[in-house]
Amino acid sequence: MSDVNGHVDLELQDLLDDRLAEPRRTAVAQHAAACARCRAELEALKGARDAMRGLPNESAPADVRARVIAGLDAIDKGARREQAATRHRPRAARKVAGALILAAAAVALFFVKRPPPSAELPLTPSEIAADFSAYATGGLALDVRTTEPAAVEAYFRQRGIGFPTRVFDLGMMGYSVVGGTVRGAQARARALFVYRGSDGSELACQMYVGRVSQLPPATEVRQHNGIEFHIYRAGSVTLVYWQEGDVICVLASDARPESVIDLAMAKAVKV
């Protein structure tokens, strides 16, 4: 690769980094030896590379290591809480199985007969963002951990969530389900489920009865497939709200904002 004057620019770097095969290597080296401009460029590139290699090898301050260890401890603590909850759940479930079924039926009936809760204000973006941050830092444990969307939906039904939660498989977009939990109580119960991306980024989706129209004005509103998406920012967290029937859906994540919006659009269902 050379320009009209025969200069080989990028290949000088290839020569420097030993990434040229013969016979091109010899040809570029011979050109550099004969051409003042290319020789100077090669020296400049080498100078920059050597300067970078000469940067001091600083160590991480002790407090960084301590913070990492403390963070790992917090995650382990959250995991132990989840394990303990899982161990106790079957015994408790046996004791109250009948009552639970009746309770779930009652809650479901409550939701079915209940008019849209226009008097109840939906949770603000900062409250939803706080849930996401609590989860991301190990302060909010999931009741059920599974990569099976259907198992998470079943868990929500068991917990009396009276609307279809639609925990979709987002594998095509590089995200898999991690698990779910229920936040709030009774009429304000919220189904919270988490996805994790292949790059480690996480998204928390929440669904609960309410009206998006009662939220404060959004930073941005977008339309897609006849659905209105209300986009908010709370610190580093992007939140995307949309309405599915009587249910508010909100996706929260500190991933790249456009990714969060794309995922919300992929998940949304027109009801």
Binding site: A36, E43, M52, G200
Partner: protein, 196 residues
């Protein structure tokens, strides 16, 4: 504990520490030079390690843990940059070739001086760090990973999530800009490479 040991819930923590913590200094160095702020760098390293721990089950033991950790770190960093509206720019190689601010054609002596600055004892360390800080982050990341941390082009491409050819062109651009900045510094410092 060997990295070949089977992974269980019980040994996850020790395996993770064995896999990730040896790279803490390298993570911090890259984070510091990307963010240019010790506090932001510490936050970035912590977030990287915690995210890596939460997704540790996706990491295949015995593979390239350094590249895996750098990938997570850079992903978090780039998300932060994009949130701040600092969009990455892909510069076509034609633009690199047209870099009119760095034309060594007429001054080979000055460029040659860059290579000698360190040999001559000029304290280039802080100046290199400053020049590095002036690069756009996608160029800075390329030169940090390849030149400062010793990753191959292929490893850097995985971390930066771009083709190897893009790493090559970013590296070229970054080195050219660094060379120009260091040459200017050398000339400002009265160092003429022994050519005067």
């Amino acid at each position: 504990m060997s990295s070949e040991a089977p992974r269980t819930a019980e040994n996850k923590r020790s395996l993770f520490e064995e896999t990730a913590l040896p790279w803490l200094d390298a993570l911090y160095r890259v984070a510091l030079r990307l963010t240019r702020d010790p506090s932001d760098a510490a936050d970035l390293v912590q977030e990287t390690c915690l995210r890596a721990y939460r997704t540790f089950e996706n990491f295949r033991l015995g593979t390239n843990s350094r590249a895996w950790l750098f990938t997570i770190l850079y992903s978090i960093y780039i998300n932060q940059q994009q949130r701040l509206g600092r969009q990455g720019v892909t510069v076509p190689i034609e633009a690199v070739d047209r870099d009119e601010n760095f034309d060594t054609r007429d001054e080979p002596e000055a460029s040659a001086a860059v290579a000698n600055v360190d040999v001559a004892g000029v304290p280039v360390g802080p100046e290199v760090a400053r020049a590095l800080g002036e690069l756009r982050y996608e160029f800075r990341a390329a030169v940090l990973l390849v030149d400062a941390e010793g990753l191959s082009y292929e490893e850097a491409a995985v971390v930066l999530q771009c083709p190897v050819g893009t790493v090559r062109s970013r590296l070229f651009r970054a080195r050219r800009q660094l060379a120009r900045a260091l040459r200017d510094y050398a000339l400002r410092s009265g160092f003429d490479g022994g050519l005067s």
